[in-house]
Amino acid sequence: MTTRERQRLEAAPQDRDRLTRDLLRPVLHTSPRIYLTMMALGAFVLAGLVAFVYQAYWGMGVSGLNRPVFWGFYITNFVFWIGISHAGTLISAILRLANARWRRPVTRCAEAITVFALVIGASFPIIHLGRPWLFFWLIPYPSERGIWPNFRSPLLWDFCAITTYLTGSLAFLLLPIIPDWATLRDRAIGWRKKLYRVLALGWRGTPREWHRLEMAMRIMAVVIIPVAVSVHTIVSWDFAMVPVPMWHSTVFGPYFVAGAIFSGIAALIIAMALLRKILHLEEYLKPIHFDHLGKLLLVMSLLWVYFIVAERLTVWYGNATPEVAVLLATQRGKFLPLFWTMVCCNFLIPFPILAIKRLRTITGTVIASSTIVVGMWLERFLIVVPSLEFKYLPFSWGNYRPSWVEITITLATFAAMPLLYLLFVKFVPIISMWELKGGEHPEPAAAAELAPGHEASDPWEGTLPSAGS
C-alpha cells in the first residue's frame, strides 16, 4: 500500500468505522514477511510442478507404484484433499441454515478452504494418470472419437460430482463477497480500484440487490448440502464398487463423509488460528469460535471411532479369508505402527483435549486439529494401500514405498493450500464485512433479527466485536 493510499484510507470519514478498517487492513497492506512466506511456499509448489513434468515425461515408473499397488500417495492425497474440502461449504451451509450467529466471522474462511482444497484434490486424479495429457477424455462432450465416456465407471461419477461441487462452492464463496468487493471498490485507488470495479459486478447496495443476494444464499445453502454429501460418498464408491478386500464395503459412503467433515473442521480450525495470528484478527476470531468448532470436532471424532469399529469388527467376525488378511496386515502386521498412530491422532489425543472444557482453548483445539489432519491422511493411506498389497492371490501380494516424486508432489500440495489462501486474503477480506455488520443493509428479515429486543436474547452476543456497536 502506498502512503497516499494509507492516508486516504485513514483520513476518509467513512473509514473511521474500525471494523471496516481492521478487516480491510490485510487486503490493502502486505508486510515483507508475507511476501517471503509466499515465495517460500511458491518454491515448494514449483518443485511439485517440476516433479510432475518429470513423471509425465519419463512415465509413472518414476513413482513408487507397482503391481499390485497401482494406487498410492496420489489417490491418498486425492481422497484427503476432497475430504478437507468438506469443511467449508458444508459447515458454512449448515450454520447458515441454522442461523447460528457465531458463524459470521467463520463462514468465508471455511468456504475458501473448500474451493482451494477441491482444486488441489481434483488435480490428483490427473497427476496420477498414465497419460495425463488425455485427461479430457473423461469429459462427456461430442468428440471426433465418437464415443462417450463410460457412465458406469465410478471415476466418471467422481468427475461429475466434483465439477458440480466446485461450481457450487465457487458460487457459494463468491456471491457473498460481492458487497465486500463493492466496499473495496469504493475505497481503493489505482489498479485495485479497476480490479474491484470488475469484481463487484456493479453492486450498488439497493434493497433489491440485498434481497436477491439473501435469496441466492438461502437457496445455495440448501442445494450445496446434498451435493457435498454426494461428493465424498462417490469418492468412497471409487473403492467400494470394486471387489477388493476391505474396499468392497457398504459402510464406506457414510464413513468417508464423516471422515471428510472431521478432517475438514480440523483444517478450518488450523486455518482460523493462523489467520488470527498472521492478520491480527484476535477481536473477530474469538476463543468462543474455537470452542464451538471444537465441540463439533469432538462429535466427529466420536463418529469416526464408531465407523472404524463398525467397519473393522464386522470384517473380523465375518472372517472371510481375503478380508482378514488385509485386516490383520493393517492392525497387527506391517501397517501396525501407522494404524495405531492413526488411532492416537484421530481419537486418543484429540478426545480428551476436546472433551475437557478447560483444555478446549485455541491452543488445545489447534493441537487436536493438527493431530487429526495427520491421522486422517493416514486413514486414507490405510484404506488405499493395504487392500492392494494383500489382494486375493497371495502369489501376487506386493509392497509399496513412495518415491521422491510422489513425496515432492504431496509436499507441494501442502504448500499450495496456504499459498492459495494467502493470495486469497490479499484480494478478499477474509471475514465477511457486511455479514458481520449485519444490520447495515435494509433487508427486512435481517433488520428484525437485529432489533434491540432480539439482540438482547441472543446467546452469541459476545461473539461480535465491540467495534461494530
Binding site: N66, P68, F70, W137, F395
Partner: protein, 228 residues
C-alpha cells in the same frame, strides 16, 4: 452362434516349466523390464506360473498354477474403465483398447486375479529381442494398461483363412502361444459354445473348478483340480 473362446488348464499335467510365459512374451511383444524394475514389481507377464508348497519336509510337494487373464464373463475390470478402453468384445473376451486407455489403472485394482499390467515406462527390449517383434501385435506405449488377449490375433488369422477356404473353423485350429508351447499338453483352448469341442468336454468334468469362483466373476478359464 458366435464363438466364446475358453481355456482349460489341467493342474495335474502342469510341470511348472514356464514355457507358456516365454512363448507369450515372444508372441505378444512384451517388453523386458530389467532386473531392478522386475524386483519392484514392474515386470509384465500376461501369464504367470504361481508356485506353492504343500506338506512338511521331507514330504514336500510343489504345486503349480498357470494364471493368465481369466477372461471373465462378469469382469470387474470392464465397468470401472471411464474411457471404454477395457471392454467386452463380441466373442466374450475382455479386450483392452490401448489407444483409448488414459492410465487410471482402476481396472488393475478391480481385477481379483491381478491379471492386468501397466506400462510404467516406454517399452524396451534387451538386445537382440527387439529383432523378433511380432508384426501382428501392437506395441503399447508408456502409461497404458495391457493384458492377455488369448492371442486374439491368431484367431483372426485362422478365421479369415477358414473363410477363404469356405469351411468352418476346426476345433484346435486356433491356439494361443501358451497353449501351443505347453510340452505336457496341460492347456486346451477352443470354443465353449461348441459342445463337441475338447475344451467344452474338459470344462464339464467334475474336476473342473474356477479360480476365485466366490468373487462372482464367471471366468472362462477352468482349472482341472489335481488328483495325484
Amino acid at each position: 452362434m458366435s464363438r466364446r473362446w475358453g481355456m482349460v488348464i489341467d493342474l495335474d499335467r502342469c510341470t511348472g516349466c514356464e514355457a507358456c510365459v516365454v512363448a507369450c512374451s515372444a508372441e505378444n511383444n512384451i517388453a523386458t523390464a530389467g532386473e531392478s524394475q522386475a524386483a519392484k514389481g514392474r515386470a509384465i507377464h500376461w501369464i504367470r506360473v504361481e508356485r506353492s508348497w504343500e506338506g512338511e519336509f521331507p514330504n514336500v510337494r510343489v504345486r503349480f498354477r498357470p494364471v493368465p487373464c481369466q477372461q471373465c464373463d462378469a469382469a470387474p475390470c470392464e465397468p470401472v474403465c471411464p474411457t471404454y478402453a477395457s471392454y467386452h468384445n463380441a466373442e466374450g473376451l475382455n479386450a483392452q483398447v490401448y489407444n483409448r486407455c488414459i492410465g487410471t489403472r482402476y481396472c488393475a485394482n478391480a481385477c481379483p486375479y491381478t491379471g492386468r499390467f501397466f506400462n510404467w515406462f516406454q517399452p524396451s527390449w534387451d538386445k537382440p529381442l527387439q529383432l523378433q517383434l511380432n508384426p501382428d501385435v501392437s506395441i503399447r506405449e508408456a502409461g497404458v494398461m495391457e493384458k492377455c488377449t488369448f492371442c486374439y490375433q491368431r484367431a483372426l488369422v485362422a478365421e479369415s483363412q477358414a473363410e477363404a477356404e469356405k469351411r468352418p473353423l476346426r476345433d484346435g485350429e486356433v491356439s494361443p502361444a501358451c497353449v501351443q508351447s505347453c510340452p505336457s499338453g496341460a492347456m486346451v483352448f477352443g470354443d465353449l459354445n461348441d459342445p463337441a469341442s475338447a475344451v467344452s468336454r474338459l470344462a464339464g468334468l467334475d474336476r473342473g473348478v474356477k479360480l476365485l469362483e466366490e468373487v462372482g466373476t464367471f471366468p472362462k478359464i477352468t482349472y482341472l483340480a489335481r488328483e495325484s
